[in-house]
């Protein structure tokens, strides 16, 4: 699937297969093409080239019918700030042709589901970021969708709100709803995704379950060393060979090894004494940085 905007290629030939009931993630830095991909799946942006099939239908022909079975939670909340919390859900449900009575009943159920029941009659504008996010997710569920698309569902939320959103999304997954999400939070991907792809520059650079990706692209453990000296760079040579891979950053040195404690012992054997040392399991973040680099993308 390809998406071009003029000369710029946002999505450069990706090939993805999502199974029903699966939680599938698109990971990548800003500008990787995640949101463009999501808009194509959401049938509001026709692919420039390639084949896209959703629920067995062709978005070019059946966009409206597909959207009727999707729930979309966009990156930026586009709730109607001037309506009440409940009105936001009821008016949106009407766009799906849901009767007023059903819409009202479902709105109340969903508000309980996202723990906004008490705010049903308050204006949407003054809600906190976390509440708006939950309301947007509730709105994405008014049509009891088969697939829910979530574009960075917890960006900008505090930890409590994030965990609440994750818990609710997990419950949806248990109910058999297919989740397709983008994120640049590795813990989110590890929490929610059965399978994911890492995107960079519009292409897929890795694919698999979180565990597979860590095994394939990183060592089992990572040792983080901090030295007191201003220049960590001089340690690069001295540490050569203590681990599978040594990465020298401005503020610390990372050792990638399957046995972190052994690597750390080796460091001490070489008479190097870091100010602090931390042995931890490798995570998706290590995979992500390994695959997409450390350069800041804005």
């Amino acid at each position: 699937m390809i998406k071009r905007f003029g000369d710029f290629t946002a999505v450069d030939g990706i090939d993805v297969d999502v199974q029903a009931g699966e939680a599938f993630g698109f990971l990548g830095p800003n500008g990787a093409g995640k949101s463009s991909t999501m808009r194509m799946i959401g049938c509001v942006s026709p692919p420039t080239d390639g084949v896209l099939e959703i629920l067995g239908m062709d978005p070019r022909r059946d966009g409206s019918a597909i959207r009727a079975r999707l729930g979309v939670c966009p990156q930026l909340d586009n709730l109607d700030a001037e309506l009440t919390v409940r009105e936001n859900l009821v008016t949106y449900a009407r766009f799906f042709g849901i009767s007023r009575a059903t819409a009202r009943r479902r709105a109340d159920e969903l508000l309980d589901f996202v723990q906004l029941g008490e705010r049903a009659d308050s204006k949407t504008e003054p809600l906190s970021g976390g509440m708006k996010r939950r309301l947007t997710i509730a709105r994405a569920l008014v049509n009891e969708p088969d697939i829910v698309l979530l574009d960075e569902p917890t960006t900008g939320l505090d930890p409590q709100a994030r965990h609440l959103v994750w818990e609710r999304l997990f419950r949806l997954k248990q109910q058999g709803v297919t989740l397709v999400l983008t994120t640049h939070y590795m813990d989110e991907a590890e929490q929610l995704c059965d399978r994911l792809v890492v995107m960079d520059g519009g292409k897929i650079v890795a694919e698999g379950s979180p565990r597979e990706l860590i095994e394939r692209h990183s060592t089992r453990e990572v040792v983080e060393l901090r030295f007191t000296a201003e220049d960590q760079g001089m340690y690069g040579e001295k540490l050569d060979g203590v681990a599978d891979r040594v990465e020298v950053l401005p503020d610390r040195v990372l050792l990638y090894a399957d046995d972190g404690d052994y690597a750390l012992a080796e460091v001490h054997r070489r008479s190097l004494s870091p100010a602090s040392a931390l042995v931890r399991r490798a995570g998706l973040e290590d995979v992500f940085l390994q695959l997409t680099g450390r350069t800041l993308v804005d």
């Binding site: 026709p46 586009n78 766009f95 799906f96």
Partner: protein
Amino acid sequence: MTSSVYVLEYHLVNYRRTWRSSALSTLVLPLLTMLGFGLGVGAYVKSGVDGTAYLDWIVPGLIASTAAQTALGEATWPVLSSFEWLKVYFAQAAAPLRVTDILGGHLAFMMFRVLVSTIAFLLVAAAFGTLRSGWTLAVLPLSVLVGFSVAAPVVAYTASIRVDSYLAILFRFAVLPMTLFSGVFFPIEALPGPLRWLAWALPLSHGVDLTRAATLGLNPGVAGLWQALYLLAWCVTGWFLARWRFERRLVI
């Protein structure tokens, strides 16, 4: 088609919040303009216009102008907000609605607003005894015709801009001259040639003529038919322009 009704319904739910404050201005504004122009200026226009008392002559012009103003108000900031600030169009586009439903539903709501302010004006005008004919009822469809002929192209314009300073330009250089030169306050024949042509080119002047014929019970003749068709051409062209601009923004 049915889906645009849901969009209309959404706008009505939204309107329910503000209708009280807007209802007051909908009634007070015609009252003030009628007192100010009709009675105030009218006192100096003793001979009337074309044998009609000035107040009776100006009221239909004010009605058509109000229809256009209401349509303009709804076709500018609310549309810009739906794209840029509240972004509700994008939320609607993610639902099964199609671009024509989103646009059609919003335009239908604009016409509802036009009808409400037209009816309010008619009630005030009736209280002043300035409505002379049973043909006055034709003012209702006429106001929708005028409103749509203005709203549709302006929606297309608003869908093409990103910041509201372009709306100020629209009002200063298009709306203000149109209101002044369209025969609302004085006959177009009083204008110098080029301005007269400008007035005829813009939709409002024809709406004013037709509305005036209706409230005064005059026969607009074949010319009236052509004027209605001319307004219809603005409606149709405006609709296609607006649809094109909406697709450019919503399907990317």
